[in-house]
C-alpha cells in the first residue's frame, strides 16, 4: 500500500471509517469556522472545539482554469463553497463543466488530491454536485 498524508494535518479526521472535514466551533458565540484557527474569528474567544463540518454547501463563485497549474491538469474548476454554519471555504469542484453554476448545491468528498513523485498520496477534500439530494447540516 502506498504512503498517505493529509494535505494539512488536522484538516481531516477519521470518523466511522472515513475522513471528515473538521472546523472549530466556538463555545462562547456558537459559530463554526474553517480553517480551525485557535481564536474565534467572530468573538476572539479561545473556547473552541473541533467539530465535523456540514458535508453539503452552496457554490458561491468559481472559475475554470484552462492551463496547467503546478501538479493539476486543465480544466481545473476551483470555487468557494458556503456551508450552512456560515463559513466559506475553497476547493476543487469535480464535475462536468456544463453542470457547474453559481448557487448550485455541492457535497464534499475526501480522497487523493495528488500523488507526489515518491508515490506519497496526498489526501484532502473536493466537491461534487448533489442537486438531487437534500442538504444542510448533519
Amino acid at each position: 500500500m502506498s504512503q498517505q498524508n493529509i494535505f494539512y494535518p488536522g484538516a481531516l479526521e477519521e470518523k466511522g471509517g472515513r475522513l471528515v472535514q473538521m472546523g472549530n466551533k466556538c463555545r462562547d458565540c456558537g459559530k463554526t469556522f474553517y480553517p480551525a484557527v485557535e481564536l474565534c474569528p467572530f468573538c476572539s474567544s479561545e473556547q473552541v472545539e473541533k467539530v465535523p463540518l456540514s458535508p453539503v454547501g452552496t457554490l458561491f463563485s468559481f472559475s475554470v482554469t484552462r492551463v496547467p497549474v503546478g501538479r493539476f491538469k486543465p480544466p481545473i474548476i476551483g470555487g468557494y463553497i458556503d456551508l450552512p454554519e456560515g463559513t466559506r471555504l475553497f476547493g476543487q469542484i469535480r464535475a462536468d463543466l456544463k453542470d457547474v453554476r453559481i448557487g448550485m448545491r455541492v457535497k464534499v468528498e475526501t480522497g487523493v488530491l495528488w500523488t507526489e513523485k515518491d508515490g506519497m498520496e496526498v489526501l484532502g477534500y473536493y466537491y461534487v454536485p448533489c442537486e438531487a439530494e437534500g442538504g444542510g447540516a448533519e
Binding site: 458561491f60 463563485s61 472559475s63 482554469t65 476551483g78 471555504l89 475553497f90 453559481i102
Partner: protein, 388 residues
C-alpha cells in the same frame, strides 16, 4: 502645514527579458529620475527598495543597489506589498519626509521576473495567495480575478466584451508610450478564438484580459517642500494618501464584485486631500486584469457600483472622456514588473501634471490619482497628486 513633493521620476523600458543584471536595470530608472530632479547621489538621504521578493534571486537587494548607485553611507531598506510595493514605498517616503527625518527619499521599484521560468513564476505567484488553504487546490492569479469577473457579471450583467473594451483602450494608448512592452493597437477581432488573446485562460477571462509578466524598474524622488522648491521648477505635490488591506483567503471576503481595500484606500485619500471623484482630472489604475480596471472605476467613485462597464462603453475613460484612465497603456500593455509597477503609474501622473506626457497628454490636468493594488485586493494604495 509643509507639503511633500515628487521632484524626479524615472522608468526603464518594460521588457519580457532584460538582458543585463538587476543593477543595470535599476540604473536606467535611477539615472532618469536623478537627471529629472537635477540631484547628485549625496542629495538623496535614504532609499526605499520595493519588489516582491519571491521573484528575486538576489537576497536583500537594497544594499546591492545602494552600493552600485553610489548611495552609501545613507540608509537603505526594503518595502513589500506584492504588486503595490512601490506605492507602499511612496507612502513610507512621504512619512519619512513629513516627519522631518529626511529631506529627500528615493523610492526604487524593480522586478526581473525573467530570472526564473514562466512555470516557476506562475507557481510563485500562486504562493502570493493563501498557501495553506487555497494553493494546494491549484490556484493562480487569473483564477481569482476570474471569480471576481464572474461575480460582477452575475450581479450586474457585465459581459466578456465589456471587459475586452478595457484592453482595447489600453492597447490604443500604449502605441504612444515608448516604455510599454506591447505597442500594438488591438481590435475586438483579437478577442475571438482562434486568435491567442481570445482563448479562455480562466473562465470568464480570456488571455487578452490579463497583463503580462515583465522586467523593469521605476524610480521616484520624494522631497520636502523646501528641498522641492530648491531643486525643481515643477514639483508635483502629494495631496492625499490612502492604504488598506483585506483577508488573504478569499473565503474571508463578503462579495466577489468589489475590492473593499481599494474602496477604503480611496476614501482615505479623498478625505486627506479634501477632494471627491469629480476633482480628479487623470488617473492610473491597477489593471492587472480588465475586470480590475472596472472594479477600480467603482472603488474610486468614477462610476457607481455596477456602472463601471457603462463608463468604458461610453468611452468616458478615454483621453477625451470625463475621466481619462490609463492613457499610458496600463499594466495590460506596459507589462507588470511587480515591484516597479506603482512607480511607473506615479511617473505617468507626474508627467501628466507637468504637461510632459507627449502624445499621451490629457488636456491641462491639475489633479491626478494613482490606484495600485497588491494581490487580489489584499493590499491597496490610493495616492492623489496635484500641481498646487
Amino acid at each position: 502645514m509643509s507639503k511633500v513633493g515628487i521632484i524626479g521620476v524615472g522608468q526603464s523600458k518594460f521588457v519580457r527579458a532584460y538582458p543585463g543584471s538587476i543593477r543595470e536595470m535599476v540604473f536606467e530608472s535611477f539615472k532618469e529620475a536623478m537627471g529629472d530632479a537635477k540631484m547628485k547621489e549625496k542629495d538623496i538621504d535614504a532609499t526605499i527598495v520595493c519588489s516582491a521578493p519571491e521573484y528575486d534571486k538576489q537576497r536583500s537587494p537594497s544594499g546591492v543597489f545602494a552600493e552600485y548607485l553610489g548611495l552609501n553611507p545613507q540608509p537603505t531598506f526594503y518595502a513589500e506589498s506584492l504588486c503595490s510595493s512601490s506605492t507602499t514605498g511612496l507612502r513610507l517616503a512621504y512619512s519619512l519626509v513629513k516627519s522631518g527625518l529626511h529631506d529627500a527619499v528615493m523610492v526604487l521599484g524593480f522586478q526581473k521576473m525573467s530570472e526564473i521560468s514562466a512555470a516557476e513564476s506562475q507557481e510563485r505567484m500562486g504562493r502570493g495567495a493563501d498557501i495553506q488553504w487555497e494553493a494546494p487546490f491549484g490556484t493562480m492569479m487569473p483564477a481569482y480575478y476570474a471569480m471576481f469577473a464572474r461575480g460582477h457579471m452575475a450581479k450586474y450583467g457585465t459581459t466578456p466584451d465589456d471587459l475586452a473594451l478595457v484592453r482595447l483602450k489600453a492597447s490604443k494608448y500604449a502605441v504612444f508610450n515608448d516604455r510599454a512592452m506591447i505597442r500594438k493597437e488591438l481590435t475586438m477581432d483579437a478577442f475571438t478564438a482562434p486568435n491567442p488573446l481570445g482563448n479562455i485562460l480562466s473562465s470568464p477571462l480570456r488571455v487578452g484580459d490579463c497583463c503580462s509578466n515583465a522586467d523593469g524598474s521605476s524610480c521616484l524622488i520624494v522631497a520636502s517642500e523646501k528641498k522641492a522648491k530648491e531643486f525643481s521648477e515643477k514639483p508635483v505635490w502629494i495631496k492625499g494618501l490612502g492604504s488598506a488591506s483585506a483577508s488573504v483567503n478569499m473565503a474571508g471576503r463578503e462579495v466577489f464584485y468589489s475590492l473593499p481595500a481599494a474602496t477604503e484606500a480611496a476614501r482615505q485619500a479623498y478625505a486627506m486631500a479634501g477632494m471627491k471623484p469629480d476633482d480628479i482630472d487623470v488617473a492610473e489604475v491597477h489593471d492587472c486584469f480588465t475586470i480590475a480596471e472596472v472594479l477600480a472605476y467603482e472603488s474610486l467613485g468614477f462610476a457607481k457600483p455596477g456602472e463601471g462597464p457603462a463608463l468604458i462603453r461610453a468611452k468616458e475613460t478615454y483621453k477625451e472622456g470625463k475621466i481619462p484612465v490609463n492613457v499610458d497603456g496600463g499594466l495590460l500593455s506596459k507589462g507588470h514588473p511587480i515591484g516597479a509597477t506603482g512607480g511607473s503609474q506615479v511617473r505617468t501622473i507626474v508627467l501628466q501634471l507637468r504637461g510632459e506626457a507627449g502624445d499621451m497628454q490629457v488636456k491641462d490636468p491639475s489633479i491626478g490619482l494613482v490606484h495600485n493594488v497588491g494581490g487580489v485586493g489584499l493590499y491597496a494604495n490610493v495616492t492623489i497628486l496635484g500641481r498646487e
